[in-house]
Subunit: 320 residues, 2 copies
Amino acid sequence: MTVSRALNNRENVDDKTRKKVLDTAKRLGYKPNQIAKSLVLNKTYTIGVVVPEISHSFFPEVIRGIEEVTYQRQYHLILTHSAEKQKREKDAINTLESHRVDGILISTAESVKNFKLYKELINSNYPVVFFDRYVEGIGASTVGINDKESSRQITKHLIDHGYKKLAHLSGPSKVSIGLKRLEGFKEALKEANLEINEELIIESGFQESGGYKAMNKLLKLPKNKRPRAVVAVNDPAAFGAMRAIRDAGLNIPDDIAIVGFTDDIRAELLPCPLTTIRQPAYEVGKKAAKKLIDCIDGDDTVENIVVDTELIIRKSCGCK
Amino acid sequence: MTVSRALNNRENVDDKTRKKVLDTAKRLGYKPNQIAKSLVLNKTYTIGVVVPEISHSFFPEVIRGIEEVTYQRQYHLILTHSAEKQKREKDAINTLESHRVDGILISTAESVKNFKLYKELINSNYPVVFFDRYVEGIGASTVGINDKESSRQITKHLIDHGYKKLAHLSGPSKVSIGLKRLEGFKEALKEANLEINEELIIESGFQESGGYKAMNKLLKLPKNKRPRAVVAVNDPAAFGAMRAIRDAGLNIPDDIAIVGFTDDIRAELLPCPLTTIRQPAYEVGKKAAKKLIDCIDGDDTVENIVVDTELIIRKSCGCK
DNA sequence: TTGTACGCGTTATCAA
DNA sequence: TTGATAACGCGTACAA
């Protein structure tokens, strides 16, 4: 016990004893066993992170933000990856619980169809914060952007520059950010008194391959029905769509204009740089981690934290 | 004890008892406590990863590879980030030890000046595998590429196309891959009987900013001493250098040719696509994780695993 | 200031 | 097949 006190810099230890303990600890290469500590304190100083993908742009930046905060606040990070699969996400959450992480940060996988697991987690008082792809109204805080408003804004940008026939490549039907972006798209059309043509709203999902396929469907429409401009749910989907447009021998933006969402690192480097919405990934990571650790420390207010986005105008929209 | 046996699917439990246990466990929402398990078994099924950066390209892919293997083999991942700082790397390793991870994967930070900490780790029989930025000859396995040979190859490519005055933007002087790439560069010059001009070898480090600064130094040389082609230690350094060249009003590759190393996702998208060496990041991650888990499982052979690279010829070298 | 007893949740071991 | 006991390494509570 005296050893424990000495190692933890408590007051009530004789200086000589303390020195002896510390010297011996050093000599023997003693390393405190965090596992035993966790067991007795019922606290691991570890948080779990579940990301749906580890691609090249958005999520690594978010993770960097999370890591920054956890490092500062002396927490650690168990990283899991759902690969957009519901089963893997479930496995991840279960093992994070088993490892008794103090809280969990989640960005939902594309294929998640119901929120029972999340609800159970939250109802059992497990601290959970969603980031980017969130589920609202089930009692957990969220950190994200204003998807609807940002989507409305970028759609309006196209409309303001005279485009009238707009298509939308939408996200998976169950994922919040996809739905909100779709809403924003529709709202912008309504505000401009443009007809909403369901034929021009195609589910692409979040991946490049889906964007490619979805765009090809649009390109198969008779010429007079084809869209003049496309709002993609995110940048990867836009990249796929751009490839489809180019493969069809058409020009961006002269034949078809297109905009994305994310500001992927590749967006500005493309042959025709992509107009998009910049999401501050690093900020999202930091705020999510902060909120989670606050929750762990007893903050039980549920917040929906919104970080600001920025419309980045490049060439693909043909407005510049 | 019977409960433990039932939950762990052991043989010697009566079927009725087992059913009762499982039902009750479910009803109570029982989740095994991995922490307690770890304490008694002295095994956490967790590995620690130390990366020097979480940028947009190489390391996220490596991590994806690591995650794939750990998921399959039922391990978990504690991710730490040294941000290229020696102190943070040290903190990371210490806390990973305290968390009793079963093994550690390390890619060394740029600023690490001595290997004492690594040696202690390895000498205390802690399973350690280095990946990408490795330290050889201290008893740990490594997974990387043949840096020297790849560097020699890409340098030779430039020489074969007639360039005679070559510069090198080198990595930090203490990091293995930087040194090896420098060696490869020199070797290619020697083989071609070209003079090695130390004035044209400048330390840029691994970051874009360093590449920019280093290139500016080269550009300040009198015109007749300036290099005609530049071999950068990696792609980010090359990106910085390209910016410096463009800022000086010069053309790539007509005034100065340049090549990189990594095949960062941005390399092919640049206005002048970058000739580079492709490193199979995902493979590196998988092989490193596999080797580490093998070590944990008792494999005590020290291997230096080399994964193949590929020379990717684009426009920046002016050879195509 | 120092030390003793106990408990965290689990498994191994050995006895019933 | 089931159960009792001890142990993993640590911190809390209390006693000396």
